[in-house]
Amino acid sequence: MLEIRNLHAEVNGNEILRGVTLTVKAGEVHAIMGPNGSGKSTLAQVLAGREAYEVTEGEVLYKGKNLLEMDPEERAREGVFLAFQYPVEIPGITNAYFLKSALNALRKHKGLEEIDAIEFLTLVKEKLKLVDMEQSFLNRSVNEGFSGGEKKRNEIFQLAVLDPTLAILDETDSGLDIDALRIVADGVNKLRKPENATIVVTHYQRLLNYLFPDFVHVLVDGRIVKSGGKELALQLEEKGYDWLREEAEAVGVHA
């Protein structure tokens, strides 16, 4: 589904990604871990098409197409969803209206008609349960005045409604207490399907206690220095990231 090959990207002339290579297949959950400043969020943003980042080398194929040539909205319509680390507020626009506009943009892309009001309400009510939120939540302005936890839950709620092929969760666990974390993780788990894939970007291992990734990759200084199964996450929790940096240097992978 997703193939990242030797991806290099910079922002304001600083190279942040220095050759990331990663393959994600349908049905898989990949966790990308790494210390602060290793380029995890940059990777997520580059995949979503943030203009501030310039790709200088490498390629990304998504469902066989060149992802990097697509506008952010085209990527979204093709099923790439980014759950933001810092969800943005849009005052004056209700959650329901925003989500309906987004859903209709995706439907239009698929050649479907706009969703009717009743169908939409039925859909969102069902998905609200997934993130344990009240219906009144729909009438609040997008993320305005939301607590940190509500904002993150809103991201997962949007994820549930928009039903993407590739979901990228950028530090969705940061700022969540343990209960909220469980709700978010449960939501994501329920959304897993054989035809979809998820990339979870996180600094801490704790989200992975609930999310059960198939693969864990460690990103250090803009490169994946180690990949493994779920046990790698536990190892990192125990030993931190420094040993990996040393190991990487020992085998001659230089930053």
Binding site: D71, A76, L82, F84, S101, L106
Partner: protein, 482 residues
């Protein structure tokens, strides 16, 4: 990225879609202004002597006045002798029904989305249509008449209800008021007149649609609305003009009078005069005086305006709060794109006890546009316990546009409470990216964010017009974010 830039360019090249010209024969006054032209206009309208005198007094006063230069707008000097002050579609006599109106004119309104034929009308909106200088059709007149409501063109009111016109004309905006209002008083050609008798709640929105068609003409309409005790009326005006590369002057006067106790007038404007092209060539100079007076106890006047058109907008819909407990409201969205300029706001004059006013102004600037809010809140000695709340927010799209705020507050009574809040923000890259990541195009994203910003104002508009205003906003801002 390249595709999105292309789309934006394409969209910004899209033309002002109301910019067509209707080919009809017109009867016009000779170019320029002098007492003969005023006599010509007055004679065309078969006006009584007192009205001609009033016009001439205004004209003579106007000759002593100087064009104001204090607004925060720039434009070349207007040559008042190069304007045609009266232009009317030629027809043998006043149309008595829609069947007699020139089909070309009806087609024009249809193109504008204003079907005049009553059977096509949305139930609940009565329309008076002003084409260049004269009113061509008023719909639903009969139904309104049964309730004692008078809704007709100004010229007709002069003929049929001279006592009312004479009593209220100039009672809120005297002919000496200001340069453009005085000019209007001398040369005004038509407009709408509306009278709501005691205790009547007008069952439908009343609406006037203004259209400038002829070249080099000015439009000088006058609207007068009088609401008696316990009555209510909601009134809407809309405006468009063809695209021409010279500037055209629109200097209207609107007077609202809430005469009786508990009378209520709600006046909404969606102004979409031709704004000029993307280099700032052409467009309408929209220099308008609008003022309301709350005379009755607990009477209320509310202005809602969505100003997206015109090369220059210069207007301050104001309210004199004279009656005890009277209420004034001003809700405004003003949008400038390309080289448009707007200097707009309101004046709330508190005279009566326990009067209150609310001001919500949303300014949106894009391209090279300059947007100024200018407002006055004045609490006179007599106005015990006056209350005002003002909120002025500016949104900038891009870095070559400007937003300015000039709030004036004059308080002469210690019991007054006046609050003013202001904010200026730039439309966020983050917000746009967030929307795009959810599948929305850049245009839709900007539209959504701007509409959210204007929500407090849009919700004051009657339903159908709120929808129209939202669409208009989108069109006005096309291509404003790269």
């Amino acid at each position: 990225m390249s595709t999105s830039t292309n789309t934006i360019e394409e969209l910004s090249m899209r033309e002002y879609k109301w910019g067509f010209v209707t080919d009809i024969e017109a009867e016009t006054a000779p170019r320029g202004l002098n007492e003969d032209v005023i006599r010509f206009i007055s004679a065309k309208k078969n006006e009584p002597e007192w009205l001609l005198e009033w016009r001439l007094k205004a004209y003579r006063h106007w000759l002593t006045m100087e064009e104001p230069r204090w607004p925060n707008v720039k434009y070349d000097a207007i040559d008042y002798q190069d304007i045609i002050y009266y232009s009317a579609p030629k027809q043998k006599k006043r149309p008595q029904s829609l069947d007699e109106v020139d089909p070309e004119i009806l087609r024009t309104y249809e193109k504008l989305g204003i079907p005049l034929a009553e059977q096509q009308m949305l139930a609940g909106v009565a329309v008076d249509a002003v084409f260049d200088s004269v009113s061509v059709a008023t719909t639903f007149k009969e139904r309104l008449r049964e309730l004692g409501i008078i809704f007709c063109s100004f010229s007709e009111a002069v003929q049929e209800h001279p006592e009312l016109v004479r009593k209220y004309l100039g009672s809120v905006v005297p002919y000496t008021d200001n340069f453009f209002a005085t000019l209007n008083s001398a040369v005004f050609s038509d407009g709408s007149f509306c009278y709501i008798p005691k205790g009547v709640r007008c069952p439908m929105e009343l609406s006037t649609y203004f259209r400038i068609n002829a070249a080099d003409t000015g439009q000088f309409e006058r609207t007068l609305i009088v609401a008696e005790e316990g009555s209510y009326v909601s009134y809407l005006e809309g405006c468009t003009a063809p695209m021409r590369d010279t500037n055209q002057l629109h200097a209207a006067v609107v007077e609202l009078i809430a005469v009786g106790d508990n009378a209520q007038i709600k006046y909404s404007t969606v102004q979409n005069w031709y704004p000029g092209d993307k280099d700032g060539k052409g467009g309408i100079y929209n220099f308008v005086t609008k003022r309301g007076k709350c005379i009755g106890k607990n009477s209320k006047i509310s202005w809602t305006q969505v100003e997206t058109g015109s090369a220059i907008t210069w207007k301050y819909p104001s309210i004199i709060l004279q009656g005890e407990g009277s209420v004034g409201e001003f809700y405004s969205v003003a949008v400038v794109n390309n080289y448009q300029q707007a200097d707009t706001g309101t004046k709330m004059i508190h005279m009566g006890k326990n009067t209150s006013s609310t001001i919500v102004s949303k300014g949106i600037s894009a391209g090279f546009g300059q947007n100024s809010y200018r407002g006055l809140v004045k609490v006179q000695k007599s106005a015990d316990n006056a209350r005002n709340f003002s909120q002025c927010d500016s949104l900038l799209l891009g870095d070559k546009c400007g937003a300015h705020t000039f709030p004036y507050i004059e308080v002469k009574n210690r019991t007054a409470r006046v609050e003013h809040e202001a904010s200026t923000s730039k439309i966020g890259e983050d917000q746009i990216f967030y929307c795009k990541q959810r599948g929305l195009s850049t245009e839709d994203a900007v539209n959504l964010i701007v509409n959210g910003f204007c929500k407090e104002v849009f919700r004051e508009l009657p339903m159908e017009f709120a929808v129209e205003a939202q669409k208009l906003l989108g069109i006005s801002l096309e291509g404003s974010v790269g």
